[in-house]
Every structure is written in structure tokens, then in C-alpha cells.
Amino acid sequence: MEKKKITIALAGNPNVGKTTLFNAITGARQHVGNWPGVTVEKKTGKRTYKDTEIEVVDLPGTYSLTAYSLDEVVARDYVVEEIPDVVVQIVDATNLERNLYLTTQLMELGSKVVIALNMWDLAESRGDKIDTRKMEDFLEIPVVKTVANRAEGIDALLEEVVREVDKGEHHEHEVSYGDDIEKKIIELEGIVGKDSALSGKYPVRWLSVKLLDGDENILEKIEGSSVATQVNSVLSTIKKDDYEAAMAEKRYETINTVLPQICVKCVNEVTFSDMIDRAVTNKYLGIPIFLAMMWAAFEVTFTVATPLMEFVDMFFGWLAGVVAQSITNPVLGSLLGDGIIAGVGSVMIFLPNILLLFLMISLLEDSGYMARAAFVMDKLMYKIGLNGGSFIPLLMGFGCNVPAIMATRTIEDEKERLVTILVNPFISCGARLPVYLMLAGAFFGRNAGTVIFGIYILGIIVAILSAKLIRGTVVKGKPSPFIMELPPYRLPTLKASAIHMWEKGSIYLKKAGTIILAGVVFVWLLSAIPAPGVDAAFASEEILGTEDSLIGVLGHIIEPLVAPLGFDWKVAVALVFGFIAKEIVIGSMGVLYGTGEDEDALAEILTAGAMTPLTALGLMVFTLLYVPCIACVGVVKKETGSWKWTLFMMVYGTALAWIAAFLIYRIGTAIGWGL
């Protein structure tokens, strides 16, 4: 028998467990893409329930369905235009009142709704007793209790969904807006109803309500129609601001009359969350506590990653050995061994580091602490022209700038988002760490850790000053108002945080598998092709990675550009390859100095005279500041949608890097330090 096919959409406020529910319903059958024309992420998935094949669309989390933000427009347009068979609204049982606001809007849209009452276990443990029967009676919507993070209630939910689809009869629920407003609504309904194109597509009452609400998106839709002038003349008779606020209040009034009958609340007690917040948002202790938590996160990341990195290293070493033994063709062997395995290996080695950092950040986010941290840092962010919303994307930069820049999508103010994207690369990502480790380890011995820490701090300082500078000149404006919900603290589940870690970290892995792989092969090719006029075989021992290959030619061309910084042509080439991926810088130097995989040998050659502590420091600073890797540049272009700003970032960073390295070299030479 043919499977029935239906489409459902998941809607709900942010932070209600929508993603967890989505994961619980669709499992591994997910696909992530983009809503057409915008940078809002679109998640879809599939699930088979009994004899029905369900396509699940995850809508962006929104508080309502007006057109204030891109997320809301996307969610709203989907429900109105694509008309899913059922809209499942995930309602947070611990925040019924606000969640029901969205419900009223969905009801006005005339959609078939099923409510998933999530986190009802938390509500009950708080003493709230929710009568789902009464809720169903009042709303005329099926209500199913769920606990998404334990995957409870999913089957019951799907059962209701399937049942709802088959129900032919459908109520269009109405919030009564009071006599005055209702009069206007009827007037508009009469007008809009005359245009068959509009009335055929959208519920007439909903259109009227939205018009009075001042919804710009709907106004646009009306503009092209036959009734535009009439509509506008009616709208010009009312005071928009008053109507908007009044209508929102009416919705809440409706909810509030119904609420006490649905839910019996206990006395407000002081919760653990409140106690923690008292300390964590304390005027004096807030920031030190935050710093301590950050230190803890980084400490765990670096120390636990170390043995894991060794494992990755051992694996790639073994792999290289196997390849060397089994492949007889020297060219292919070199391509695979020196090129691909060495190159990709040098990137993968940092995967544990990056994944662990993202895991730490995800744990902090899932526990609810990050929201408080953003609040604590908001004051400081205000001073550089940003607000607390820019904080988490910047923090993520310490792992990898690519997902960090994608995380800026949560920032509503376009200008602030732009600035956060532009300065993000100055936050030193995990990929640059091998450069620091190698150079600091070779030249600064005992103080290596302090030097590296200094580099990280330098990055933060440059990011801060650049933000201030850009905000004061090219992207002027005042920081937008910062408001963030502080959800109750909860113990993060390892599973959920691991999923979040993977969402951020898998981007790094993809980058490695694609761009870096291609880049590394490209580097190898350049080092294997004989330079013009050199009489040697392709990929032969004599020329591989030496001056006699194309790399050498490239290097000598660039050399004059970096000579004032104290760098030679080999460093120049390595930096150029750093554009492909920062991790390759050390690998390229290994190839160029003839030490291949052996980092200790490389360290020896460098300290023996190829570089000095001064130039090593300059190189570290240069690596920190100059143009980020190609994957990052690509993401900047995608998220800003502008070549102008992408190029600005590239030029600004590289210029800053050059100047800094130049100053270090000149001043150091002048005072005789580190020579």
C-alpha cells in the first residue's frame, strides 16, 4: 500500500527544546540547508510513523509571527505560503504565558496546530499543575505532553499529528480585540475580501489583523493588489503605534484569562537558578568567575586534547608508513605520503583540540551559564560599540572562526553583525596553534606557554581595538539594545552537548576534507614541478620542495615583500600557503626546509640560524593577524554578502600583520633583543 505523505512544521519560541524534539523525531534522517535567498538555516528531516511518511521542517525559533526579524518572516512565510499539513508548536510548559502568544498567532493563521507541551516534567517539579484536558478544550487544539530530551511522548505526538491531518473540520480561532479594533478589522476584511488573489491565498481576517498590526511584510503584499488604495486610506485613519501595542495586549489578556484555569501555580520560591545568578551576576565577582570558568574550559581542552592528538599523530604516522611500503611509484608515493597524508594529517591533529573546546562551550551554553556570561560581558562590549550578543560568536573564534562567524546570525543589528564578523579572525583560532607551538617551543623554551598566551591576548586586544575603530568610523552607530532570556540552569546532558559540539566542529572537519585536501595537493604539485630551466624529473628528490621547483620561483618573487620583516623566501611561501589553511604553514616549512614530518628537526634547523627569536616572534604575530584561511574568507563573503567588506577584512588584517611584524623586527634589531 502506498505510504501517505504529509509535511509538518515545527514552530516555537527559542529555547523550548525544539531542536531536541526535531532530533528525537527525525533521528539521523536530517538535512541542513538554507531558506532560499537568506542566510537563515533550514533543517528538514523525515520520519515514518505507521503508514505515513512525514517530512519535518524545523522553523526558526520565534516569539511571534510578525515581521520584526528575518527569522520570523521566514517562519511565517513558510506556514502561509507552503501550508504544511500540520504545525506542531513546541510549548515550554514552564513558560506557558509567553509561549501561548505564538499560539494565538498560529491560530489566527488558520493552521492546523498540535501542541507539544515540552518540559512538563520541569513544570510539575516546580509545582505547576497543568491540566492538558482543559487546555485542549479552551484552545481547541490537541495537546501532547513531551519530554524531548528523554524522547518521551514522541509517538503520542505523531499519533495526534496524523489524526489532525485527517480531521476535515477546522476552526479558525479568534482573539477578540475589543469593539473599536474589531470594527476596523471588519472594514478591512470587506475590502481585502474583494481581491480574489489575496483572499484565495490568505485568511482574510488574518490579513486584516496584520494590516492593523503594521506588518510591513503584509503591506508589501497588498501594495501590488487591486485594493491597495482603499486599504491605505483606511490605515491612514488610525494611529499605528497605538493599535500595535493594544493588539498585543489584547492577546495577552486573552491568554491571561484562560491561563489560571489551565495551570495552577505554586508560590514563587527562590530557586537554585536565582541563587546561582546572584553570585554569577555580582558586580565584583561576575567577571572573575567568568574568567575562571574560561580558564577551566581551556585547561581541560588543552590537557585532555594532548594525548588524543598523540593518537591522531600515531595514526597518521602509521598510515604514512603503510602507504610508503605498499606504493611503488615514487611520484604517487610522494603525493600521498608527503602531500596528502602529511598535509591532511597536520590539520586533523588539531581536531581533538577544536572539538573539545566546542564541547566545553556547548556544555556552558546548554547549562544556561553562557547567557549570564553574555550579560556580564555586555557592559564591556558596549564600550567597543557592540553588545552581549556579539560575545558568544567571538568566543567561538578560539576554536575555529568559520562556525564562529556563522554564529553571528543570531545578532539582529546588521551593523553590529558586520563588525563582529570583521574582527572575528583576530581571535586566534585552533589552526594557528601549531605555528605558535612550533616556534615558541623552539625559541622560547620554558617561556613558550607565556609567549603563546601573550599572542592570544594580543589577538583579543586587536579585535577589541579594531571593533572600536570600525564602529567609530566606517560602520558608525550606537550598540543596539541588548535583551537576552536567562533560562533556568539545568544540568547539560552529555548527549545534547555532544550534538551541539558536533554542529560547530563538523564544519572544521568539512573544511579539512575539502579545501585543505585540495590545497595540500596544490602545494605538493607546486613543489614537485621543476622550475623553468631546471633539468630534473617531476617530483624527484632533487627538486621536491627545494628552490628548484615552482615553489622556489614563487618564493623568490615574494621575498622582497617580506624581507623588511626579516623573513626569507621559505617563510614567505609558507605564509602564502597559510592562506589555504593556517595549519599548513608548519607543514610547508617542513617541506621547504627538507625536514618533512619531523618537527624536532625543523626546530633545530630554525634555531641553528634560519630564524632568530625575534623573527620567530614576528612570524607568530604575522600569522595571528594576516588574512585568515580561505574557508574563513569564503564564510565572510557568504555571511556579509559583500566582496567590499571581505576584501576590506583581508587587506586590513594583512596590512596590520605586516606593520606589526615590521615594527617587531626593526625595534628588536635596534635594541638588540632576540637576535
Binding site: R98, F482, P488
Partner: protein, 68 residues
Amino acid sequence: MMPEGKEGKVVSINAGQGLKRRLVEMGFCEGSLVTVHRSERGALVVVVNGIKYALGKGLATKIMVSDC
């Protein structure tokens, strides 16, 4: 500017269209009960309708609250 620990009711919101609507949608309607948990130099942590929010500098001054 309400001190910590005090409760009040929202009287009005002095903000632009979009922001005002958003605040109202989140529960800051006229008459809503507001409890201040933290208040320092413009930044607030408040509880409105059972939900806790952090309000950055500048935003807090836009919401007028009266004593209960």
C-alpha cells in the same frame, strides 16, 4: 531605575516601533508584574511573567515601571 529586590508594574515603553512590539511580545505589557533581581548602572536582570531576562544598558531606561 528600580532597585534590586523591588517589584513593580510596567507603565510604558519608550522605544521605537519594532523594539516596542518585540518587548511587548516578550511579556512587557502595561500592567505586567516586574521583579528586579539585579540592577547596576543601567543593566538589569528582571523577571517578567515568570521568565527571567537580562536587559543591557540603554534598554532598561526605556521601560517605565511603577511601584507596586
